[in-house]
Amino acid sequence: MSLYEHTIIAKQNHSADQLKSLKTKYSKIIEKNEGEIIKIDDWGLLNLSHEINKNKKGNYIHFKLKGNGLTVSELEKNEKIDKNLLRFLTVRVKKFDLDKDYFKQENNFNKYDKKKTERMVNNEKEI
């Protein structure tokens, strides 16, 4: 058994219910094929840095799962067919860092963060 991080980008016009159904659909597939879900993160609606099939925004869903080759291949087989998704990515990792949420902080403190980063950049320039 090895550890995987799996992210999905869904299309932007999905409602919250549709996203939930997507989550349950893929978590069921994982659990059927000898897998085990440790955590599911919602990164929310983010701007894509470049357009993918004429889409400018996407809903990101992030899975952290335990499994073997069968679970991953079965997941990706189903995702290739799915028309609701733009992209997916699986990465094998040695350890999960469950403390850090890179995308949650930005949503909560967006305005403050921008000011802070501007100050930091200015300070660095002066030094």
């Binding site: 894509l48 840095s49 990101y60 992209r87 890179y102």
Partner: protein, 91 residues
Amino acid sequence: MKKKFKRKVKKNYQRNLSKLNLFQVSKFQFKKKCPLSEKNAPKIDYKNVKLLKKYISENGKILPSRITSVSQNKQRKLSLSIKRARILALV
């Protein structure tokens, strides 16, 4: 009188040389260390977009390590994680 004057000039010349040498040595030691292999350095990860954007040019190209002074080992990991972030359209 002439001899004394010559000695003075020589001494001054030597002092200047020693100062010059010191200056050059300090310049060589001023090479930057790798910012990602220090203590408490941030972890390289494809989700950490803020970090990755520091090592990318305005056109989205990966900057060479001779400009950013990242060590060879970390540069390999950086380029891998930048390419992963590109797939997810984060960078």
